[in-house]
Structure formats: structure tokens, C-alpha cells
Symmetry: C2
Subunit: 353 residues, 2 copies
DNA sequence: GGTTACAGTTCTAACGTTAGAAGTTCTAAC
DNA sequence: GTTAGAACTTCTAACGTTAGAACTGTAACC
């Protein structure tokens, strides 16, 4: 008999109904109920109706834990990012949650920024947690370790690029986007461009790739270049932006544009420049990457390299699901298109004004 | 026998080790292994050492799914917010993830902004998902439904205040914080203050409480007040901020301060004001709520009412865990302190400048 | 009347963990 | 030498779901 007898509208079950309760109420076996739930053949219409009525009456919802144990699959993927309260990572998480829904996966967002241990746990696929796959934005972990661990965890990398062949990687063409940025500035009349960002110690990091593209474009376009205009840092935060801008201030008259490897760096830098009466964009144009929403509402509004996050998220899931389904091909790089969004901070120099 | 024989350093297990594998390797029973894992008495030192060695050799990690099924507890709580890419909600999520770790819970962030269905699923405790509790920031769902559903789901409400007695609620004293804002502006020499935010259709919403505090303080301090200076809207977004500021523009010369029910509203409003050559704070002071990081980097930087999110997160977990542990007391309101953070956007009017 | 085919249903073991019940071995006391 | 109890281990069922194997019943065909 069922554990709960409906004693009127006021009484409620204290525990969720199980498959067994449905089976007993409908007077059929467990298997028949599963067959109905999964819409399988070989169930008489009359039986099906009876089972469905029982499901409705008990408010039965299949326990995903039971299914998980049985199938070994959870349809949950983890998103491992340093901090969820960074604007770009929040936007990324949002896009991935939406894409996950389209692809039938729930996205569990985990913050790894606190310690290397957290990152390693993510790279190892969260042992014990029955996570189907990991979308991973590594920060500190040794690429070698990631390579080792990813062999047993379906994984897609975002954000930072580790050594080739580590795991699938989805990103824009960072080098090309930096060239586009420099060409845009040159076409707007900028001649002496500074660069902030890119940790030289991580040769294939995003900031480094952007730096390479920047340098190549500066050379190709015959623009002036000085080592003192190239500031390197390994965090792309607002604080780092202010710090770098302060280091640049003594030479600020030498330059007329500043390329920052992220919008946060740019936001920090602009704040410092404005505090020191440097006019943006009249004295110095500034441009960043990520196209975070806040950039639109700054004064001046911030020009930026935009990624189509929905597309990136879809490609990420395609790659990840293929790995979850057992694909053992060599790691692949998926490139998503980027776009320059020109706003006030990189307005062309005009004779008037 | 164990399913995997270690055939050398290159070979790796294809599936995670189970308790059973450990037991077989150590030559003991399942129960003995659990006893070791849980550090129980009645295990000989020698046996314990053997079991621990086996655990280490196999890299065994207990399956949380198995535990969940057995115990009915997952130690996972859901955080249901409209969108994770809103700065305040991202900061909130970060604080809750950190607090969850302190209290032994993982925080699963779910976005409910897309549809009422998503919100209802959250309010119902995510049936089937074995979630121990829900931290819930409702937006659209009928309070009545939340009340019904929350009776069977350990739940704490954040952000929007529903009808009294619905569920535990953690927030700042919104009314008092609005009074503090008005007093600060008055003390800084502002006389004619406008207000943006607060949906009059949701009587106990945050924006409404702030509005009440605002009106009371204006009256108490004998400040001028006109209905045309009070703009109501139900979304606290940047877009709403620009829209509301545009509606205010024709009367902008009448006012000298603008109180916005959120920093996003304020950011949108400031952008519009600056575009129309209204000087902030010289012509109009602006102040918001939430103290989002971006406010610090705007020019002018944004004054705001700050909540101690770490404290809020800790109180949230205390309340939620008490409910998870079976507390059936009437719903309670937990108040966390707030603080005015004065920045450039509400600088006092000074004769010079 | 017997065979075949298939629709519809039940039985059973399995996923990994847990803990109560039951069993075994050992020590110490009478 | 027996007994009590402690120390330690094994046995077993349970959590909720699933699917293959096995069973029953019916209809069609020769």
C-alpha cells in the first residue's frame, strides 16, 4: 500500500512519491510505470491512462539521484571559473547556463579562484560528484597537471590557452583580434600605442596571444613602438588597470592610445587617467576586450572586442558533449568570430574639439 | 577480484574505484571500509592501515550519489536568482558560495529569470533534484504560490520581500537605509530630491520599502516634494535607469539630487544625465543601492548603500540550515546592517567649483 | 490442436553507499 | 572450563531507478 493516504485537501505527503508508490496506486509493476514514464511501446492505452493518473495524483517526479546511480550520468556539467562576480565571467556563465538548457545539461558554477586545490579538483572532474564534464577556465594550475587529469574527464577549456593538445579549447582568434584593434586605432589617427596585459611567463595565455598580435600589427603598420609603452601584468582586474595606468602616467604625453587586454584593465586605467586630467579619448584612446555591459555605461563609453557568447557557449557544449559521448580524437581548437565594438573611448581624433 | 589490475604506471582505471574495490584489495568487508572512511571505533590499527593503503592505491573517493541516495541529503543548496550576470547578483552568488563552503554546502546557482516556470520550480525545491534547500530571490511568482510551496522546501528569501510569514527573509533595513540616504543628501545641501524605483504593485517589495523610507524622511526633514519627481518602475536595470532619467530631463532643473533604488538604475541615469550635459554631482547628486564594484570606477564614482554580503550570506546559511534541520517555527526576518558609502556622485555642493 | 508471434506485464539484479543485526574472535574473570 | 563482555568483522537490506530476462495471455495461421 502507498505510504500516504490522501486524507483530504489539507494533508500533504511528507516525502516525495516514488516509482513504487505510483506502481502500487496504479496496481501495476515498477517496470510498467517506467515504460509509461519513458513513453515506451507495449503498454495498453488503458494501463497507460491509469499510470498517468496515479503519477498526477501523487505528484510523482523521478528522482534524479536514483537515475544517476543507475545510469552513471547526471546531465550536469561543472563550470569552473575563478570568480563568478567578474562581469565577463558572469556573462559567460549566463550564456553557458542558457546553452546548457538547450543541450539538456544543467550547469553547476564553481569558483576556483581561492586556491590551487580548487582548480585541481575541477581539472580532475570533481571526483565523487558525478559530473559529466567540466568547462574550465584555468588560472594557476600547471598545464602538465591539467593534461594528466583531463585524460579522464571530458573537458573544454575557455579563457586561458594551455599547451596545445591539452584539451578542447574554444575562443576567439586572439592574435587576429589584437591586429584588428591596432588597425582600428591607426585608421582613427592614433600613432603611438601602449599595451597593458599579458603575462610573459605564460606563453600561450590569452594576454600573450593578444600581445603578439599587437606587436605584429604595430610593426606591419609601421607605427612607432617603445618598450616602455608595453606593460605586462598577469591579472586583468580593475585594480591592475589603475596600477598599470599609474606606471604609465609619467610617459602619458608620449602616447595617444592604450590597448588593454581586458575591459576591466581598461576601466581601471580610464579611471586613473581621468583622475589625472588625461582626456579620454581626446588625449588617449582606450580599448579593451570582452565587451562587458558596464563599458556601455561608462563616460566615455568603452570600445571593446566582443565575443558572441551564445555562439561560444553552443560550440563549447558541442565539443563537451562529443567528449562525454566518448570522442577520443586529439584535442581541437574551436574558434568563434569576434567583432570590434567602437564606442566613445576610441573615437577618431578630429581637428575640431 | 578488483576490476582493474595495476599493469604499470601507464595503465589507469577507466572507472572510479568503489568501496567494494577497496574492500577486496584490503581483504576486508564493506562495513569495515566505511568504518575507516568515517573514522569510527572498533577498527584494529593494523586493519585501518591496510584499508587506508588500499584507498590511497586506488585513489578512492566516496560517490556522493550513493551517499545521497542512502542518506537523502545532498549537502547542496540551490541559489535561484533571475540572472547571474547582474553585478549585484554575481557578488551575492560569490558571497554565498564562500559562505556555503564555510557551512559545508555546495551552492548550485540557477537562473530563474527566463520564465515563471523556472521560478516555480525553484520555489518547489527543484523536485527530483535532491536539493537540501533553496535560497531564493523571487521576481514574478505569486507570493501565495511561494507560501504554499515553501511549506515543503527549506527556503530563505533574499532581495524581494514577499508577504509576511512566507519564509525566512534576510535583508538590510530597507526603509531605514532610505532615510539615511535622504539625511545624507540633505546634510550635503540638497533640497529637492527625486526618486526612481519601486513597483507600486508589489507593496512589500524592496523598492517599495525604500520608497516609503524616502517619503517619510523627506517629510520629516521638511524637504520640498513633488509627485513629478517620483518615478516608479519595476525593473532595476541600467536600461530602466536611462529611460527614467529621460523622463526626468524636462524637469531636471527643478531637482538637485536623485535617489535610485539600485546602482544599476543610477548608472543608467547618470549616463543619460551626462549625455545631456547635466553635471553630476554639481547639478544633481546621484546615489544608489548595492555598492556594486563598477560604481567605484565610474566618473563620477557612485555613492551607494552597501550591504555586508559576507554577513548576509552567513545569516542566510544559518537560517537555511536551521530549516533543513527541521525547524518549523514561524518565518523570521533577519536584518543585516547597511552602510552608506559616499563617493563623488553625492559630493556636497560647495560654493567654489 | 499445435505452433508462432507479439503485446503486455512481472521478476530480478544492478548502480554505490550506509547502518543495524548478527556473527566471530579474543580477553578476563570466576 | 565456562561465561561475559568487549573488540572487531561480516551479512543484509535499504535508498530510487533502470533494463534485460522471463513470464503470461491472446490472436493468427496451418
Amino acid at each position: 500500500m502507498a505510504p500516504e493516504v490522501d486524507a483530504g485537501a489539507d494533508s500533504r505527503p511528507t516525502r516525495p512519491a516514488r516509482l513504487k508508490d505510483v506502481a502500487e496506486l496504479a496496481g501495476v509493476s515498477l517496470k510498467t510505470v517506467t515504460n509509461v514514464v519513458h513513453e515506451r511501446r507495449y503498454v495498453k492505452d488503458e494501463t497507460r491512462a491509469r499510470v498517468k493518473a496515479a503519477i498526477a495524483e501523487l505528484g510523482y517526479t523521478p528522482s534524479l539521484v536514483g537515475r544517476q546511480l543507475q545510469s552513471g550520468r547526471s546531465n550536469i556539467v561543472a563550470l569552473a571559473v575563478p570568480r563568478i562576480d567578474e562581469p565577463y565571467l558572469g556573462a559567460l556563465a549566463h550564456a553557458l547556463i542558457m546553452a546548457g538548457e538547450r543541450h539538456g545539461y544543467a550547469v553547476f558554477t564553481d569558483e576556483t579562484g581561492r586556491s590551487d586545490d580548487h582548480e585541481l579538483r575541477a581539472a580532475g572532474g570533481y571526483p565523487g560528484h558525478s559530473i559529466d564534464g567540466v568547462i574550465y577556465s584555468p588560472l594557476a594550475v600547471d598545464p602538465q597537471r591539467v593534461t594528466e587529469l583531463s585524460r579522464f574527464t571530458p573537458m573544454v577549456l575557455l579563457g586561458e590557452h594551455l599547451s596545445e593538445g591539452t584539451a578542447d579549447y574554444v575562443a576567439i582568434d586572439n592574435e587576429q583580434s589584437a591586429r584588428d584593434v591596432v588597425r582600428h586605432l591607426a585608421e582613427s589617427g592614433r600613432q603611438r600605442i601602449a599595451y597593458v596585459g599579458g603575462n610573459p611567463n605564460r606563453p600561450s595565455s590569452v594576454g600573450q596571444l593578444r600581445f603578439q598580435g599587437f606587436c605584429a600589427a604595430v610593426k606591419e603598420l609601421g607605427l612607432e613602438s617603445r618598450d616602455e609603452w608595453l606593460l605586462r601584468c598577469d591579472r586583468y582586474s580593475r585594480e591592475a588597470g589603475t596600477a598599470m595606468a599609474e606606471r604609465l602616467l609619467p610617459r602619458i604625453d608620449e602616447i595617444d592610445a592604450l590597448v588593454c587586454a581586458s575591459d576591466l584593465l581598461a576601466i581601471g586605467a580610464i579611471r586613473t587617467l581621468i583622475e589625472h586630467q588625461v582626456r579620454v579619448p581626446d588625449d588617449v584612446a582606450v580599448i579593451g576586450w570582452d565587451n562587458i555591459i558596464d563599458g556601455r555605461y561608462l563616460s566615455p563609453s568603452l570600445s571593446s572586442v566582443a565575443t558572441d557568447l551564445d555562439l561560444l557557449a553552443d560550440k563549447t557544449f558541442e565539443a563537451l558533449i562529443s567528449r562525454i559521448d566518448g570522442n577520443r580524437d586529439p584535442a581541437r581548437i574551436y574558434t568563434v568570430p569576434h567583432q570590434l565594438v567602437i564606442r566613445e573611448s576610441s573615437r577618431p581624433i578630429s581637428p575640431s574639439r
